[in-house]
Symmetry: C2
Subunit: 347 residues, 2 copies
């Protein structure tokens, strides 16, 4: 059975989000961290903003300045020599690479899991030198009564894995860079395994190596080591371009289930499943030959960066995988999948 | 006063090292880890070997196979389309990048610090899937009665930071990958600072970021976190290409002294000094405007990869910095520098 997409999809659109300042516009709301807090579903939304009123002859990069605490806009003329403005997400100039938008997080809350209240102001905003180009793609893992949030902190120094925590999604504490550049798609397992914490992560190596999924372990969630290579891209098919962890892994009777993303040779982002041994999570038991979800709906095929379904988290309740996902790097959408059917597809 | 190079330089040459097998030749012996063990000076030599009898029409890559435990040679014809054979250290093919030599370590011992006994067999040889392209550039840090060795483990999965340890340089224990790819030039500080271990490391980021020096901390030497950016390349001069840690840092009254390497725009590798706060080693107190040593002698300018002086460790005894260094990626050489003069140069 294919994923059941909600009839109200996309459930959150950029126009549903008030920009953090009047001269900016929200261009994307996507790739949300997911948690249940009592009766509420929490989405930690990634909100991407840029200066309002784009001009064809100008390319703007909104940048957080940690010295002043303000967001400043750096502008480049479209005719500037030595620049590449071909990608909607970033551009290259002789003095460096810049992002076209600046991302922050907002805590959206819902009772029914579909209609969300979105605050008018950011909940977590860039706040230090590692975050000057934004904070992106949060994964939320509940351990005890604390929610640990790992996100990509982006700056001219690189893309790092940064950790924050909260107990209530009102007050947040930052804990620093836990994975050095270049790393993305970090998801901490929700419980210790034989006395150690584990996390999936996705380095982007140079010279040798590919964008593969690795596993790390930690005594304390802050320091990570014993890195082990888990899976690389497939020889062909939906995940033959590169791979990365996506949702926070969750326990099933058969093993840890990870919903990961794969990219094919046409830059289409789909989702598949990975089954890891419960006691020795570095042992890969099974992996999707076919994606469990791929871009099919119009909102998944067209947007800021089209042909993308991407998740940072799911809720698993009553045998249903409740998938909150970014569509076309523009929207939040919702779909339900049967946990049993995912597991059966891995046999 | 410039460095005083030893009159016997280079003190170790490839012809001084017996190859590990009769059909291989030693092409380089360089970038050694350094330790004092009782009356002896220990050099953990990086020895690079390749198949004997190179042919103009063929390029060979010696590769350790972790399944068989054997080294196998992969050959590519010089006329193969889509290849780049222009660098002496590696070549690129449509199926991947390969190194032209395979490195292992040997424990060389000396009473006078100049004339070394070199064993005929490897002391530490590639032994797992992370090391199939070799083990390189060891840094040795003594903590208590244990010597911790961190080296670059190179494979098709990337360049990682791998840790081993020994008490006697006879028996070694491996501890796994402590820094995920891409990372190099990892050097652990010789003592805890306010209850935590610290290490310098040098990620090679993609998309955003440069080859800069970072600092990490650890509760146990195995897991590393709280990564902080320390220094980047200079605007111009000897270290304006990129930088990386080199020697294991050592304590002085003024601060932690790190001898790091810098590369200029002509790919010339020189050495400079970095002074870090004793209590808060993420605070940079001073940095060399001019190199403390640059390639000048013939053996530093010509070799497998010329115009390189590079160190993985020093001994600091009686105010003298005894520098063991790799010259032209081919030889081990020795020079002495005055610690006071290095510190004065940083004012």
């Amino acid at each position: 059975m294919p994923p059941i997409r909600h009839t109200d999809n996309p459930i959150i659109k950029p126009s549903d989000v008030v920009p953090s300042r009047s001269d900016f516009e929200v261009v994307c709301v996507f790739n949300a961290g997911v948690a249940r807090l009592g009766e509420e579903v929490i989405l930690l939304l990634r909100v991407a903003e840029r200066p309002r009123g784009s001009r064809a002859d100008r390319h703007d990069a909104p940048i957080y300045n940690p010295q002043t605490g303000e967001v400043e806009v750096k502008s480049f003329h479209a005719s500037m020599p030595g620049c590449d403005f071909s990608d909607s997400r970033f551009f290259r100039t002789p003095e460096g690479t810049y992002l076209t938008s600046l991302s922050h997080f907002r805590v959206a809350r819902s009772r029914d899991g579909i209609r969300f209240d979105i605050p008018e102001q950011p909940s977590l905003f860039p706040a230090n030198e590692y975050e000057e180009f934004g904070i992106e793609d949060p994964r939320v893992t509940k351990i005890g009564d604390t929610f640990y949030i790992v996100y990509a902190a982006v700056s001219r120094m690189g893309i790092t894995g940064y950790m924050a925590s909260t107990k209530d999604f009102v007050a947040f504490e930052r804990h620093g860079v836990i994975f050095h550049p270049t790393n993305k798609d970090i998801a901490i397992f929700p419980e210790k395994i034989n006395g150690k914490y584990y996390a999936l992560h996705r380095p982007s190596p140079v010279f040798l190596g590919k964008k593969d999924i690795w596993l790390a372990e930690s005594p304390d969630l802050h320091a990570w080591g014993n890195h082990r290579h888990l899976i690389g891209r497939a020889v062909d098919g939906w995940d033959s371009g590169h791979v990365g962890g996506s949702a926070v892994p969750f326990r099933t009777e058969q093993g840890w289930l990870e919903i990961y993303h794969g990219v094919d040779s046409n830059q289409e982002y789909s989702l598949g499943a990975l089954l890891l041994d419960l006691e020795e999570p570095w042992r890969v038991l099974a992996r999707s030959k076919n994606p469990i979800m791929k871009p099919e709906a119009s909102y998944e095929k067209e947007g800021f960066f089209g042909n993308v379904v991407f998740t940072c988290g799911v809720l698993v309740e009553d045998g249903v995988v409740k998938l909150y996902y970014g569509a076309s790097d523009t929207y939040i959408a919702y779909a339900e999948l049967s946990l049993d059917e995912i597991l059966e597809s891995l046999v």
